[in-house]
Symmetry: C2
Subunit: 269 residues, 2 copies
């Protein structure tokens, strides 16, 4: 093996070990043994375990960032769904060892590891903004994207620890939460509304956004919910706020056409 | 000063210093000087800077958890809004020094600091579930609450670094994002739908949820959006998916009553 090949091989072996176990449970001897190398040879390439840990984290970061690459084709939610599939696959294979680092409780945390994590978050952020294709994204939209990335990180780490829902559900839910966050941001920022219109027009009924809309339609068909929500619009016929400390009585059903008039009548122009 | 008083005073002084600067920029000498104590006296109480850092972080964690306490009175979004006001006030006063720790890039991170952070997150999670008052919350709902806590953490840390939006906006948006996440979770989990009905019935038009609903109503009044969304419901009159790779053409306007029939017709019962 050449010097470069040996170095890359040691990083690959270290990444494999560090992906499975926390850094305090991986020794230079473990890495040497798994690489078929001697301990002095490992030290010849890396000054110590921390350097090897950071090199393997850098490689993991590059691998993860590469998974964010996605052609700008098809409905946005379906692109994001494919990206999340690759991301969650990565979390499954590399997450166990790096979870403590991401949660802020790893002894191996350093300025070096922090820089790698920041780079990956920035790559995710930039990819999403590129797919949104919105010229000059507002600070509010950038914050929405960053918050959603944090959501994806934490949710997938929680999932890794408990696996309380099927992975495919998580994949779908994360995408749908992005769609919801984007819609909320557009509701606050009129300049985004036109973008949202073409976003929804590009989506398909059987994609993540379509399924979200159908689930919400099902929810609002549950007696009482649409009426309670409609009562919250300022221009709605029934603007009387219910008593706040008492249990809510079921609101009287109204024809949904009338309920919608209340929604549509409230314009923020 | 008694032994206990002196100990508490040192922690208070350390917390003040560690809240403003990263731990590597605070020395035992700084703490001794600010406390009007000698360096040996500080070492008499604490074996070193890390121990003092962890003690001050524990106190910060207790202070923060206490801010989550809120009487179970009034609309839920208004309770959460008050809590977020106190939380963001804490972030402003203590965040600068602990931001690196929460972001996972602090040299002072340890099993001890990790335990404190986990305790605070758990306190936030338990408080929210207590206010929701939902018996036996599902794994999906718990995940939603945890993800939203992560959202609040990251968003407020980002805000601290950039202050790109007014703090009051952030306070409102975080609460509204919780309401949206809760609604999404209920859309996926029919058992939650009844809870959501009484949640909305308790809300007021001028509260965070009311303002969110009004903003969304304004958004859906923008030409094209409601129609594009309605087209995504399986039972809608226009279920034809638009071509996905081409820019969306503006959908034809339809009376909103008809659009709503599409929504309401899609039931998941």
């Amino acid at each position: 093996m050449s010097v470069d090949e040996r170095r890359e091989q040691l990083i690959a072996v270290a990444l494999e070990l560090f992906s499975r176990r926390p850094p305090e449970e991986v020794s230079i001897d473990d890495i040497a043994a798994a690489a078929g190398a001697s301990r002095p040879l490992v030290y010849h390439y890396f000054p110590g375990k921390q350097a090897l840990y950071e090199a393997s984290l850098r490689r993991a970061g590059r691998e993860l960032s590469a998974r964010f690459e996605e052609p700008a084709e098809g409905p946005l939610s379906e692109r994001l769904y494919r990206v999340m599939g690759r991301y969650l696959d990565f979390v499954q294979s590399h997450g166990p060892g790096f979870a403590a680092l991401l949660r802020g409780g790893s002894v191996a945390a350093s300025a070096g590891t922090s820089a790698v994590i920041d780079d990956v978050r920035r790559a995710a952020h930039d990819q999403i903004l590129a797919h949104l294709a919105i010229p000059a994204p507002s600070p509010g939209l950038r914050l929405t994207v960053r918050a959603w990335i944090a959501n994806a990180e934490i949710t997938s780490l929680e999932w890794l620890a408990e696996r309380s829902v099927p992975l495919e559900e998580l994949q779908l839910h994360l995408v749908q939460e992005f769609v919801a966050s984007l819609t909320l941001t557009a509701a606050r920022e009129p300049a985004l509304a036109a973008e949202l219109s073409s976003f929804f027009a590009d989506e398909r009924p059987d994609g993540p956004t379509g399924r979200l809309v159908q689930d919400l339609a099902g929810l609002f068909a549950v007696p009482g919910i649409l009426d309670a929500v409609t009562a919250l619009t300022a221009g709605a016929p029934t603007t009387e706020a219910p008593a706040t400390d008492e249990p809510a009585s079921a609101p009287v059903d109204e024809p949904s056409a009338q309920a919608t008039e209340g929604w549509a009548a409230t314009s923020h122009e």
